[in-house]
């Protein structure tokens, strides 16, 4: 249990370090939904966005091959849930202009009111969804 918290803290520091490099180096907010959404919308800086995601995909791939017990995603095998959840995450983060990395990590650390409120709302909505779907209706 405690070892997982320490890994969480260590991984979190790496995430924050990445966000700091992106901010101090390129002057941009490191938000996964914003960087991907810019590709979807055909915004500028395409090469920067693509190279960012090349890094995001490459390091877990390499690290997993080095670890004795490679982490898994344990995603549900219910494809209806996967599709509905994916559409909600994609549309929701773009409408709200941020996700866990942009509003959460970058917004809270700046004491941004919008970032803090968005984070409280999506954690609340996520908690309510789990409570209803798992404990009330037993669907997931």
């Amino acid at each position: 249990m405690y070892i997982e918290w320490i890994w969480g803290l260590a991984g979190g520091l790496l995430i924050g370090l990445g966000a700091a490099v992106y901010l101090l180096g390129n002057g941009r907010i490191m938000g996964a939904s914003g960087i991907l959404g810019g590709l979807v919308d055909g915004s500028d800086r395409t090469l920067e966005r693509l190279s960012f995601f090349a890094g995001v995909v490459a390091t877990p791939l390499v690290l997993r091959s080095l670890l004795s017990s490679a982490p898994m995603t344990h995603l549900t095998d219910n494809f209806a849930v996967i599709v509905i959840a994916g559409v909600l995450v994609g549309a929701g983060t773009r409408i709200a202009n941020g996700c866990t990395s942009g509003h959460g990590v970058c917004g809270i650390s700046r004491f941004s009111a919008r970032g803090i409120i968005a984070t409280l709302i999506y954690i609340g909505a996520g908690g309510a969804t789990i409570a209803l779907m798992r404990h009330v209706w037993g669907l997931i």
């Binding site: 997982e4 890994w7 260590a10 991984g11 979190g12 520091l13 790496l14 995430i15 924050g16 990445g18 966000a19 700091a20 901010l23 101090l24 180096g25 390129n26 002057g27 941009r28 490191m30 996964a32 190279s51 960012f52 890094g55 390091t59 490679a70 982490p71 898994m72 995603t73 995603l75 549900t76 996967i82 599709v83 959840a85 994916g86 559409v87 909600l88 995450v89 994609g90 549309a91 929701g92 983060t93 409408i95 202009n97 996700c99 866990t100 990395s101 809270i108 650390s109 941004s112 009111a113 409120i117 968005a118 709302i121 999506y122 909505a125 908690g127 969804t129 789990i130 409570a131 779907m133």
Partner: protein
């Protein structure tokens, strides 16, 4: 230079997501499941990620980004319908699946078919977002 810095930032982000356990949907859903077997790991991840960024935001004062330009301005503290409804939608999808955009991309090489379908659905949602957002604005003006 900007492209290399992006790749460095993305590499750190991806490594952090894997090491922290945030590409494991059971840990994320465990954090949201306050009535079940609650898992506090995500709070440690968030705390760990905020620390370097607290310092980074302080360093932006009286400076410019390394590659030039300006640092992003803080948005005025307005609560609009887009922020609230968008975040509710995101939270619902996050709770259902245990995936948010960063981990969905980071785990694409080991998340199986489900992971690929999730990413495709997420991108579809992103395509639909401008239209949905405009509809929200119209209903706001009508109200």
């Amino acid at each position: 230079m900007r492209v290399l810095l992006s790749m460095l930032a993305g590499s750190l982000f991806g490594a952090g997501l894997l090491i922290s356990g945030m590409t494991d949907t059971t840990k994320v859903q465990g954090w949201l499941d306050v009535f079940g077997n609650w898992d506090p790991t995500l709070a440690f991840v968030m705390g760990g990620a905020i620390l370097p960024m607290l310092i980074a935001w302080r360093m932006t004062a009286h400076r410019r980004p390394l590659t030039g330009g300006q640092f992003p301005k803080m948005s005025p503290p307005e609560l609009d319908r887009r922020l609230i409804i968008g975040s509710v939608m995101f939270g619902m999808g996050w709770g259902l699946s245990g995936l948010c955009p960063g981990p969905a991309i980071a785990s694409i090489t080991y998340g199986g078919l489900g992971g690929i379908v999730f990413l495709a659905a997420m991108i579809t949602g992103m395509f639909a977002a401008p239209g949905l957002g405009a509809q929200l604005d119209r209903s706001a003006n009508a109200a």
